[in-house]
Amino acid sequence: MTAEMISTLAHFIAEEILRQPNREIAATEPLISSGLIDSLSLMDLALFVEDTFGVRIEDTELNADTFDSLEALAALIQRKQGQ
């Protein structure tokens, strides 16, 4: 379940945000603090998560302190789904 979610997120980030479909992103790779996802792309990720997983990431959660890896993002989504 988690693996599937991580793979869905990784696919979206590589394809739509980085525009490099072949780019592999490790589950623990820093996303925000590394500059991989820049501030202008954070909204795209938030909108995708909302449409795909049915949970909302608040704008005040769009920072490296809340999630900085696919693993942490998946955990955040699952926490929200469980609520």
Partner: protein
């Protein structure tokens, strides 16, 4: 009014309880800041500067996040007669090492007497200091005395003269930080007077709403100094909050009946594409009389997309306007006529590309639609010149040269750069454009600068970063910008040569370049192409030719 000090005193004495700024911070209630509160807070900083021995006329660098401390530290410097310069704050992705290096270089050129910053950031600032540099104080907001009423008859800022430098503006990156644009009180007031006329500023009714950072001319001049000095209320949000929730801008316009906003072209696309309907419930944009597109190339498609998205919420088509501006002219050079949409000019694409002439289009298949940036504001003259500095006829593309009474005093402590920027009293902008019936159409750049989301990026800075990555070779990489119609701005591209043909090696090299540049530059680098030796076209002096390599890259990408 002859100095900032006089203007502040006037507001403080005439209407201390008038709200100067509505400060917005995500998750907090908006803070109304009256002139009394603004200047009493500022007074605390003026006292702190004096106590630390900062002299009027010395530079104070402000490295503070969006918030009341930044506002107070800025106006406090003015009250004390010191010269404030706001720098970008370190973002979470930017390497602290790079930031320190750039700051050290900036201190070397600008020679500030003090730096104001937050406790969390003070260690980075301390490490950027070097023995015998000019910095005598690193001041934290908590070290200022409590706010108190300013005594205007005693504060050192009262002695500043209109021709004295009042502030410095820097653009980003290693190169940009070396060029602090120094502006005098007089230059800023001359700009505000001419620009207020151009936008028909209505001091009784206008409300300015902004998300722009204050370290940039559009944010600092149009969306901070203009409202505060002219007595027009300002609703100020953080760029950090806006980029995560662009709907805040529209909600603020609706709530405060905002009338004027400035933003770069990409922001039109960003707002149109990334706001959900649920965030627009009850939003009424009918008060917005001008949303002024400025600081990167203006695109009619972006206006169209923005209009279609927000027209159902009361946005008027005539509200979408344009301006051509630069820090060297304080801010605006031109402004479109607010009573009608900006002038569009359909020209022949082929003649434009091959002869650099803007000839009215005849058929659909060979057409390019240009959008005017408006007419020169009253105090600024514009000429279009060829490479010999001679005027060219209307509809001929040339370099835009300007002359006004609101020009920079100089690049601070860089007389060499200042001298190079002028030709017989005319400032050469490095931008290409043409004029028709008094309207200026900006259509390209002579200077090698990439503008990403309104931020100026110097390609040589990006190339220097590329050479720091193992596996690259100095002189064998090139950086340039390409248009991205979807985002409405430019995207940075790096092409680097490698002698190693192995695809895995090349993939890893591209990745390493992306990561290193993104960590050390104010942009995220996505497009890297690794090519064989001698792919990159060089100029006769052996430097990578950016325009030619861009054309080659675009052909390569198909």
């Amino acid at each position: 009014m002859s100095t900032f000090f006089d203007a502040l005193r006037n507001h403080y004495e005439r209407h201390p309880e008038k709200t100067a700024i509505w400060l917005q911070i995500a998750r907090r209630a908006d803070t109304p800041i009256t002139y009394r509160r603004l200047l009493e807070n500022a007074h605390a900083y003026a006292q702190a500067y004096a106590a630390r021995g900062i002299q009027p006329g010395e530079v104070v660098i402000l490295i503070l996040q969006h918030g009341e401390a930044l506002l107070a530290a800025f106006w406090g410097a003015v009250l004390h007669g010191a010269i404030p310069s706001i720098l970008p704050f370190l973002t979470e992705k930017l390497s602290p090492q790079r930031y320190k290096k750039d700051l050290t270089a900036l201190i070397g050129v600008t020679r500030p007497a003090a730096i104001v910053t937050y406790p969390e950031f003070a260690p980075v600032v301390q490490e950027a200091l070097t023995p015998n540099d000019s910095v005598r104080a690193v001041l934290l907001p908590a070290e200022t005395p409590p706010p108190s009423p300013p005594d205007f008859s005693r504060l050192a800022g009262r002695l500043r003269q209109p021709e004295d430098i009042v502030l410095l503006q820097h653009s980003s990156g290693t190169t940009g930080l070396q060029k602090g644009v120094a502006l005098s009180h007089r230059a800023v007031f001359n700009q505000l007077q001419a620009y207020s006329e151009a936008i028909r500023l209505d001091r009784a009714r206008d409300v300015i709403v902004s998300w722009l950072p204050l370290y940039h001319d559009m944010g600092l001049i149009a969306s901070f100094l203009l409202p505060v000095l002219e007595g027009v209320p300002l609703v100020l949000m953080s760029p950090f909050d806006w980029v995560r929730a662009p709907y805040r801008l529209l909600q603020a316009v609706s709530h405060y009946r905002g009338t004027l906003t400035w933003m770069p072209n990409f922001a039109y696309m960003f707002c149109a594409q990334k706001i959900r309907d649920r965030h627009l419930e009850g939003v009424d944009l009918s008060s917005w009389r001008a949303v002024i597109n400025c600081s990167e190339p203006v695109r009619p498609e972006s206006h169209q997309v923005f209009y279609e998205r927000f027209q159902p919420y009361g946005l008027r088509y005539t509200a979408l306007q344009t301006s051509y501006a630069m820090a060297e002219n304080t801010f605006a050079v031109t402004q479109s006529d607010l009573s009608r949409p900006p002038v569009l000019d359909a020209i022949q694409r082929t003649a434009f590309l091959t002869q650099h002439r803007a000839i009215p289009a005849e058929d659909e298949s060979d057409r390019l639609v240009m959008m005017s940036s408006g007419r020169p504001i009253a105090n600024t003259r514009v000429r279009i010149v060829d490479d010999q500095g001679r005027d060219v006829p209307p509809r001929t593309v040339g370099e835009i040269a300007i002359r006004s009474n609101c020009m920079l005093t100089g690049y601070y402590n860089r007389p060499d750069l200042t001298e190079k920027a002028f030709l017989d009293g005319w400032y050469l902008t490095g931008d290409y454009g043409y004029m028709v019936d008094g309207e200026l159409f900006v259509c390209g750049r002579k200077k090698e600068i990439i503008i990403v989301g309104g931020k100026n990026i110097y390609p040589q800075d990006i190339e220097s970063l590329v050479y720091e990555v193992p596996g690259t070779h100095p002189g064998r990489a090139v950086a340039f910008g390409i248009d991205d119609p979807h985002t409405g701005t430019e995207e940075v591209v790096v092409v680097a040569e490698s002698d190693n043909p192995d695809p895995t090696f090349r993939q890893n090299l591209a990745l390493a370049i992306q990561q290193h540049v993104s960590k050390n530059a104010p942009i995220t680098l996505r497009r890297v192409l690794i090519v064989d030796r001698q792919w990159i076209i060089k100029t006769s002096s052996g430097k990578p030719a950016r325009t030619a390599n861009k054309a080659k890259y675009l052909a390569h990408q198909g």
